[in-house]
Point group: C2
Chain length 339, copies 2
């Protein structure tokens, strides 16, 4: 009992506040009952999905009820004919993506926690990942929502049409609202045809500024990668210390360029990308020709995270955004903070 | 004077109501002045862009002030390094797209009126066109807005980062709000690398249901076209009567499949598409290998519109949406209405 309270009083960060009680909703009507009960009595309610956030969003700082939707974990319907999946909020993102991709379809949003985060949390935080460059964030895939308001009223907003623009956009107001406007009990999400394959080019550069120049050059050459990531010198040092000096080619910046599409298209684009990347002075270029090879690189990328922890320094996960042209300035600023 | 009032009392449809006065705002502060003046006196204000809508959105049904932003037509800034264009609301969509594409960049939303509609109207109506299948509608490209509220207060919402998810999404509440929440005086829009080329496959089918099956088949095979359009039997009859029997291959349904991307990728995907389309029993297939050939097909498509007018029947433009699986049912329903 104490363990359950404790578990629902925190997330992946180190901040915690115990709820008075944890309620495990198993259906929408459970949520309605809780909200009516709490609303009439002025009891705080903090909704919780998988609880794997890093910013305290699901921590019940006011005490009261921790309302878990983790048991509402059914994929209600997958309908490729409409390009739609209907899901409960407790479904783990990876499970949803797998179910959809088994039918040859694709739900692109890819936060780093995709193996353990739930759709409800994705909606509450408008989650996105590296693929957002080409595919956008969670919001771009939300077609309809069923929401229980603080009063216990049930709201159905949006629908299942991909193009639906009538009236004020209340639907997307709920996405990213961090549970403050209501409890999402069902979501209708857009799915798209699954790209046939993906491939990757990785490169190292003398300096961060060269990797940033490579990003600008390849976008300017008309390429829209499915993912782009630059790793800075500090992280590379940690990775070489943790994974071995030869785990990464020499260089002070590392760039991942992932593309997807038809198999033949991807192969020829990879060659075009090589030319662009060589043109901005890469120290080394490697190719990763298929899904499996790409996954190995992403695994390496995740190992960077463990490498940073292994430095013994305190690691805080915080996402920040800057306009693309400010990347170099940002890296210089961050390097300055190290001193 | 009377002409100016009349011109600003209607749109492209046949409904009209005269304003008492037309104000041509030339900058944001003009808009502020008008809104303060009108708000203090309870005078209705109807904002107007290019005035080329078909549903009366810019018709000043309450009289009062027609507030035109047509003279606010500067593209303020194009910055590919940030993937951003900043524009005033009176800029014509085509001019914006051309300015961006001259630099090798792309602003995808493509309502049929793109040669004459303005960005302000696009934002007010959340405009979209055939490309929304792959690229989404106007909303997906809005990063930041400057809005003058009814009170005359100036609101700056959003910014210029492509991924920016902090706080309630008031930004997108304004997109598609039909001028009812405020007057948009500046917009920061997302641009993406321009696809290298595009190409097209057109096909005719025995029946509408076959063309709809082709759409499902090609999406299920993992293709995500940049545009898809089906034309029904009634329209094809009108087109053959107006443009000549040989303007179109035989068949009761016509399908346009446009794809875009790298030149080599597009060429090989076209062959894959041919196989899929043949597999569902097309009567004829034609290829259109480059931008110019694609534009010829879109011109033919626009001629369909004139063909319908030439039938002598009253033509009402109305957009409707249904889930993709209901296309056949919709066509049958529409055919039923003809009787």
């Amino acid at each position: 009992m104490a363990e359950v309270l404790e578990e629902h009083g925190t997330d992946r960060w180190n901040f915690s506040h115990l709820p008075e009680v944890v309620v495990f909703a198993e259906c929408r009507d459970d949520v309605v009952t809780v909200m009516k009960f709490a609303n009439e009595r002025g009891i705080p309610v903090t909704t919780r999905g998988a609880g794997v956030g890093y910013v305290g969003g699901c921590v019940p700082v006011e005490g009261g009820i921790a309302l878990s939707v983790a048991r509402m974990k059914s994929v209600v319907e997958i309908m490729p004919e409409d390009g739609v999946v209907v899901t409960q909020p407790g479904v783990i993102l990876k499970d949803l993506q797998d179910a959809v991709s088994d039918l040859g379809w694709y739900y692109p949003p890819d936060p780093a926690s995709l193996n353990e985060c739930s759709i409800g949390g994705n909606l509450a935080t408008n989650a996105g990942g590296p693929r957002c460059l080409k595919y956008g964030v969670t919001k771009n895939y939300v077609l309809g929502l069923e929401v229980v308001l603080a009063s216990g009223e049930i709201l159905h907003i949006g629908g299942r049409c991909h193009k639906n623009k009538t009236g004020f956009d209340l639907l997307h107001l709920f996405v990213g609202s961090e549970g403050m406007l209501g409890v999402i009990t069902e979501a209708t999400l857009r799915i798209i045809p699954h790209p046939q394959t993906r491939a990757m080019l990785t490169a190292t550069f003398p300096e961060f500024v060269d990797a940033a120049a490579a990003v600008q050059a390849l976008l300017n050459a008309g390429h829209l990668p499915s993912a782009l990531e630059i790793t800075d010198e500090f992280t590379l040092k940690a990775a070489r210390a943790y994974l071995g000096e030869n785990s990464l080619r020499p260089g002070k910046a590392h760039l991942i360029v992932e593309i997807d599409g038809r198999a033949k298209a991807v192969a020829s684009e990879l060659k075009e990308l090589e030319e662009v990347i060589n043109g901005v002075g890469a120290l080394s270029i490697e190719f990763h020709a298929d899904e499996e090879a790409c996954e190995q690189v992403w695994q390496l990328r995740r190992d960077f995270s463990y490498s940073l922890r292994a430095t013994g320094l305190t690691k805080l996960n915080e996402d920040i955004v800057v306009p693309r042209s400010k990347l170099v300035e940002l890296a210089a600023f961050a390097a300055g903070l190290e001193e």
